[in-house]
Structure formats: C-alpha cells, structure tokens
C-alpha cells in the first residue's frame, strides 16, 4: 500500500464543480463522493485550493476547519493528511488540482512542496494539450460545416447555370418554324406557339396588341378618324 496517494481533479468553471481526473490509489467510493462537488473556501483541500488558486496544506483532516464536512469520508478512506496544489494554465486559469494524501498526520518539507508544484505543472501541460485539441476539433468541424454549406450553394447555382445554358443553346440553334402558321418545333419534336416557346426558354412575358400595319389591314377605317 503506497505511503502517499495522489489524485487529479478537473475543474469546471461554469458549474464551479470538480470532476474525477485520476486517482488510481484512492478508494472508488471516495472518488465518487468527490466527483461533482462544488469548490469554495472550506470545501476540503482541493475545493479551497481551486477556489483560491493557492496551495492548501492540511496536515490533519480531523482538526482542520476546511475538512469539517468531509473528515468522516477521509477517515473512512484511511486518509489523514491532504495537500492540494491548484493546476494553473499558461493563461493563469485554474484547471483543477493535484492532491497528495497521506495515511498519517504529515507536514510537507521543501522536497514535497517542489514535488507537488511540478506534478501540478505536468498536469497543466496535459490538460491544456487536451483543451487545445478539443478547440482545434471544434474549429475543424465548424470549417467543414461551412465548406459543406458553400459546396451545396455552389452546386445549386451550378445547376441553375446549366439550365440557363441549356435554354440559351435552344434559342441560339436552328429553330424549325412552320411557314404557314408560324408554330415552332421544340427539341422534343412538339409544335408549339412561338410565344409559348419563347416564354418557356427565354422568360419574357408577352403583352398582345396590334401593330399599325395590321391595324390598317384589319380595321381600314379606324386610323382615318
């Protein structure tokens, strides 16, 4: 059984709670009891260390005020001393805590303090690396979503352009027209009124009237009044 038992708690600043990071030597029930706990001054060594961003050394959980609500849990787990170092990011944000537990009353010496500081530093590197990867993944997903949306938009425009090209090519080519009734034959072999054909492939709206020559021919007396 190890003399010192170490753990890492991860801090969620949105909920101001801690979550299990790693504690391979601590009892399962202890980890579960701590998981999701709120941080704050007086909420154990880790809760206080995270809330204050300062190292907290509790030499004896039975007598320290920070452990008033947790000492029974600690004693049940066979723990007596708990030192906690906040895990601080390179941007000075608190990421969690690195804790060292002992089974007896214990005061840290200079080596212990250096050890816990460097351990928290290593944990900070690992956590920041993970956060950076998660941010990169989010940016990558966002970028892919933008590319998908743009591609879809371009495909739609391309389809419209193809249709316009098709229509224009029909208007530019040879157009069979009846010499008598002036109906035209479309690309599928159907005969249609020339107005309907042009409306279909070129899009204008026809308004009907009578030109002066036809007016003269159809209504010879109308223009003289």
């Amino acid at each position: 059984m190890p003399d010192v038992l170490c753990s890492v708690l991860l801090y969620d600043p949105e909920t101001r709670t801690v979550h299990h990071g790693a504690a391979p030597s601590l009892p399962e029930f202890y980890c579960q009891a701590i998981n999701g706990a709120e941080v704050g001054v007086g909420r154990g060594s880790c809760g206080t260390a995270i809330a204050t961003a300062q190292r907290v050394v509790v030499e004896d959980v039975l007598t320290h005020p920070y452990w008033t609500n947790f000492w029974k849990l600690a004693v049940t787990a066979g723990l007596r001393a708990c030192w906690s170092q906040p895990i601080i990011s390179s941007k000075h944000a608190v990421l969690g805590s690195f804790a060292m537990y002992y089974r007896d009353v214990r005061k840290p010496d200079a080596f212990d303090l250096e050890f816990i500081e460097t351990s928290a530093h290593v944990a900070a590197v690992a956590i920041e690396r993970t956060h950076t990867e998660q941010e990169l993944e989010q940016h990558r997903n966002h970028l892919e979503e933008m590319v998908r949306a743009r591609t879809s938009e371009l495909e739609k425009l391309n389809q419209e352009l193809r249709q316009v090209n098709h229509d224009v090519s029909l208007l530019r080519g040879l157009l069979p027209i009846c010499a008598s009734c002036k109906r035209v034959r479309d690309d599928k072999g159907y005969w249609a009124q020339i107005e309907a054909y042009i409306v279909k492939y070129a899009g204008p709206v026809f308004t009907h009237g009578i030109c002066p020559d036809c007016s003269q021919r159809l209504y010879p007396g109308l223009g003289r009044r």
Partner: protein
C-alpha cells in the same frame, strides 16, 4: 509553460535518491502527452507514478 520548468533541485537528503526515478516517470508522462495519449491515461500515469 516550458517543459524545462520541471526539474528538482535535489540535494543530499534521503529524497535525493528518488529524483532519477521521478524524472524518469515524468519523462514518460511527457512522452505520452507528446504522442497525443488520452488525458485520462496521462493523468493516471502521473498520479500512479507520483504515489509511492
């Protein structure tokens, strides 16, 4: 945050003999970080090798 920041001042005390083992364990943790190991695995190694 530089990796070189992690070092031990050492000394002649009884803890001095542990320093090479601790540094070796830390190097292992950094290797796993550099290789993109999952956070849970890295923290497990860190806490397991720090417990004694």
């Amino acid at each position: 945050m530089s990796l070189s920041a992690v070092s031990f001042s050492g000394g002649a005390g009884p803890e001095a003999a542990r320093i090479p083992r601790i540094l070796e364990a830390r190097n292992h943790v950094y290797e796993r970080i550099a290789l993109g190991a999952p956070l849970a695995e890295v923290l497990n190694i860190l806490t397991a090798t720090s417990s004694r």
